[in-house]
């Protein structure tokens, strides 16, 4: 079993898509430690960033066991084009809380639905994802609360959040890009791509409605190629190079 074997496994492709989203998002979001608007939210946001990294680790450990690979190797040593994350997760937030919040909200609600489906798989990965699903639900509840709170807070907070939504929603549809062109319809929850997208949109619209915000979500064509199939934006490359900088200095180092 090798890295190549894992990368051509349809289930692994779906799991890597989920894990890579969380790895990159957790890494980016940890920058906010010490900078969030209020202390308790700082703690919560940092904890959620740690959760994201932990959730990614849980999946990498499973895949490592299946394919005889070190989880760290899976996390840090793949080629750029082998990362399956959606580039939404590395869109720069320029330390704008509204963009950070909106991005995490969009990804968390998507991840929760993904874990719902992975949790139905019999065996180890299903059990792992059932656990992660519960924690993802807490993230979604937390972020929903903040979207509603800021959307209904003041005209300024509503305006800023609306701008963030307007900026990110066009990219968010690519969360539903199938991670591998060779995936058969019945090999993953891609078979319910339209269904999961509609569920995701319904949830998001309900939250936006409560927050006096608007958003129009569009499911890209199945053929639209992006991060899930290894065609990454420059901001992903920058983030990836920084995240792996220490690792790359001495990949075989014993810490």
């Amino acid at each position: 079993m090798t890295m190549q074997t894992m990368l051509t496994d349809p289930l692994a492709a779906m799991l890597l898509a989920a894990a890579d989203d969380l790895l990159m998002l957790g890494h980016v979001q940890s920058d906010w430690t010490g900078l969030a608007p209020i202390l308790e939210e700082d703690i919560a946001a940092s904890a959620m960033a740690q959760d994201d990294l932990s959730h990614a680790l849980v999946i990498y450990e499973f895949l490592g066991g299946e394919h005889d690979l070190d989880p760290d190797t899976i996390a840090f040593d793949r080629n750029l084009e082998d990362y399956r994350c959606c580039d939404l997760v590395t869109v720069p937030d320029d330390f704008d809380w509204s963009i950070s919040l909106c991005k995490r909200w969009l990804v968390a609600s998507y991840s929760k639905l993904g874990f719902d489906r992975f949790a139905t798989i019999e065996g180890d990965i299903g059990q792992r994802c059932a656990r992660l699903r519960d924690e993802a639900a807490i993230h979604v509840a937390h972020l929903n609360n903040w979207i509603i709170r800021l959307g209904t807070g003041s005209q300024e907070s509503n305006d800023r959040l609306q701008q963030a939504i307007n900026k990110l929603i066009p990219e968010a549809g690519m969360l539903f890009e199938p991670p591998d062109a060779g995936l058969e319809q019945d090999e993953s929850f891609c078979c319910g791509r339209q269904e999961i997208f509609e569920e995701w949109v319904d949830q998001n619209i309900a939250t936006l409605s409560q927050a006096n915000l608007q958003g129009t979500f569009t499911l890209p064509d199945r053929e639209a190629v992006g991060g899930r199939r290894g065609i990454h934006a420059d901001h992903f490359v920058e983030q990836f190079e920084e995240m792996t900088e220490v690792r790359r200095t001495e990949p075989s180092a014993a810490w």
Binding site: V28, D31, I38, A44, L57, D72, F95, D134, I138, H142
Partner: protein
Amino acid sequence: MSKIRETFINFDADLPSPTPDHRQWVVYTCKRAGAPYKWAGYLEAPDTELALQYAREHYGLDEACIGIICHDHTDGTDGPYGLEPLLPGEAHGDDGDCWTVFTLVHRGGNHQTAGNVKAPDADTALQRATSAFADGKIRSIRVVKSDRIYMTNDDESPIWPTHDMTYKLAKGYSKNVRAKWARFRDERTYEQYRKEDISKHF
């Protein structure tokens, strides 16, 4: 902080003034059905909704618990802290509002729920709570009007009864470190490590 962010930091001069509306909340957790809610800690939040949310996240995920309650710090009224156990009183009555009673069972311990009394005000509640709950052991009593105590509901606690957060514990950066820690734990006791550490450094 990420180096790639260094060029992006831009503190707008027109940021609105911060709103100093944070309140301090006292949080208690219940570990199992039928057990009292015990003091877990404090947090700051501007309102009840966020207080409960942060309580769930900060305290509910730290260790298994089945429920959380919290109240605004200013809604609690503490009686005197006794170096010796409190003596029972003679104040009784069932008029007024319902107050939740928290007792400090031993010095250095934490307050925990003990029951309820009815009273028209906090001072009377303390007196009646002392009569009802001072049993020759407890050191202090706190009363909080029951309708000022907020509780998580079942829908908000999907993870507490079942969660096992050990997968989040620091296990080291790499597989090598994890293996070293496992070997360390297996081969040497903490006491042995401590003795060697003391003799080496002092």
